[in-house]
Symmetry: C2
DNA sequence: TGATTTTACGAAAACGTTTTCTTTTATTTT
DNA sequence: AAAATAAAAGAAAACGTTTTCGTAAAATCA
């Protein structure tokens, strides 16, 4: 079939082992033999069989990225950063989408126990409450780094952003813009990012002597139609909020759609700020004030950390917790 | 280390081959032995070594997706569709980004000759003129499907959209909105999609007796700053176009930024229509008229076709050319 | 009962590498 | 010139599966 070491050896009148060593530039092989071998390998377009190699060396030169979704600016940018580092290291990248479904996350993790990859980058899905599949994976000893959506009750390396501070600042920004009744759109009951962003929201309110009203904390679902209905219901009431803090991009987009629909003026009647990596944030009508996470950097840092672990360059059993900063960008949607 | 067939066999007092057969549900193994084996496999959390398996069976259960970029709504959605089909088939997905660089495309393809994957899904990068790396890959006999950006001079299965018709319709739409001087923003000299979309543009102009002025066909680069400069220059002239047809999303976004910058009113002074998969198209200021490709469907169809080829379900040496339809969605940016 | 088939399992080769250990040949040392 | 060493290459085992083939024992048949 395709050319392998055996064929190459026959063609060159050498043994398989010598050819292998020549290609790996071993000191045991003379310079001229190496040259001959390399030339023949080029001529016959030899490509080593990756499975034979991986089987023998117990290295896959591959990492896995497990994320909730890909049609999402944050994750697309993060993957971009991950790919950049991986490509630089000569590694392959397997991507798995959980579609925010715990079952998918579990079965994916289960598959990855088989040694298919040398390391795993993971961002939890919104309904992951039980993490025993994660501890199980962790216990196999495979390098594992969580990014952005990380488990709260597990000792593991993570790359996140300053979610609490960002939630605080976003809320404070709305308060300073004159909002008194600030709603918070939350993605999940389980995610650390949601918890922290909401804690920032709560603390900012308290610090400014605004009482938190639980009816303005919306636990959104994974279904867009449901979210639209919930937001519409809230905004259609007489007693409606005058500010919205969306903890994730898509909830801000839903809010915009609702406001367009029910003709609520942003920012005159409702001010909005949201976590978002939209490239079109400043082109929206009105332009959207955002907390923007350094998504590409997060991917880059996560991958770099993972490779440090794979290459055992991380000292002892120290556990890295990298925290990057998000930036608040004021635009029209939250203007006073 | 991790539990393998050998350990399982020892634990069960069986031979390795029997255990293997039991797990693969062979008729040669009795029902009760199968049960015993499965229970022990579960108990010891046995996961077959994928490399040993792939080596032996000459199957990787993996496909490769090679695309120009991921932080791009079209490709993100396409990947989503691909992943859905792959997951359903129990296949793994390796993703490679070329970043619109021919060199990367070449080296990625080179790597894929080694048998790492059972099939390849590919969308060309903008500067791919020479396609001998592609014919070379094709000649290895590995199933290969191109989507959206396909080579024009190669006999191969493709999944595309009705680019010519869409280009024609988009241009005609601008003409009907009253435009006389319509510019076309092109991505590349080499891509089939650009050729076809531009041919539609040219034919629509001709059909409506508008003479094509070459100064209004802009060959954009891969550098955003350069594009902004080119577009600004064109729109700042006294003799500027009154309509713009952007062949790709990011050029429309650049156009919006330029108009915001130089205070040109869309659609009063300049009407805009663009190929785009922006979820926020209707939230932009003004909302953007788009030709929207069924990106998710394209991914789905491409993957399905690829799997038909992998499973040899495609008849003889027929070459599938699947063409899906894009839809023109009129919004404010091209209002009369 | 003896011959034949069926059932259930085991032995061993194969996939294509990598790597350890040997062996051969050439070179240097005494 | 004989012995020791160095250089270059080969033999073979190993990685963990899958699969072909062989072979007991049990079941069926004549």
């Amino acid at each position: 079939m395709s050319t392998n070491l055996k064929l190459l050896a026959k063609e060159l009148g050498l043994s398989i082992s010598s050819v292998s060593k020549a290609l790996r530039d071993s000191y045991e092989i003379s310079a001229e033999t190496k040259k001959r071998v390399r030339e023949m390998a080029d001529k016959l377009n030899y490509q080593p069989n990756p499975f034979a190699s991986s089987l023998r060396r117990k290295k896959s030169i591959t990492i896995a990225v497990v994320i909730p979704e890909i049609a999402n600016n944050f994750f697309a940018l993060a993957i971009d950063g991950i790919q950049m580092v991986a490509q630089q290291k000569g590694y392959h990248v397997l991507t798995y989408l959980t579609h925010e479904d715990h079952k998918n996350e579990e079965s994916t993790i289960q598959h990855l126990q088989g040694g298919r990859v040398d390391g795993v980058l993971l961002s939890l899905c919104r309904d992951t409450a039980d993490i025993k599949h994660l501890t199980s994976l962790h216990e196999t000893g495979i390098p594992l780094v969580f990014f952005d959506r990380v488990p709260e009750t597990m000792e593991c390396p993570t790359v996140t952003t300053d979610d609490y501070e960002s939630g605080y600042k976003a809320t404070e920004h709305l308060i300073k813009a004159g909002c008194k009744k600030i709603a918070c759109l939350s993605l999940s009951n389980y995610l650390s990012i949601t918890h922290k962003r909401m804690k920032g929201y709560e603390d900012a309110l308290q610090h400014h002597n605004i009482k938190l009203d639980p009816k303005w904390v919306l636990q959104c679902s994974n279904d867009n139609a449901t979210n639209l209905a919930m937001i519409t219901k809230m905004l259609n009431k007489k007693d409606r909020p005058d500010g919205i803090f969306a903890t994730v991009e898509k909830l801000a987009i839903s809010t915009y759609y609702v406001c367009q629909d029910i003709k609520l003026k942003i920012p005159q009647q409702l001010k909005v700020i949201s976590f978002s990596n939209l490239r079109t944030a400043s082109l929206l009508n009105p332009s959207l004030s955002t907390i923007t996470q350094p998504a590409f950097e997060i991917g880059k840092e996560s991958a770099s950390l993972l490779f440090r672990m794979i290459e055992k360059k991380t000292f002892g059993n120290r556990i890295d917790k990298i925290v990057l900063k998000s930036s608040l960008i004021e635009r029209e949607s939250s203007k006073k």
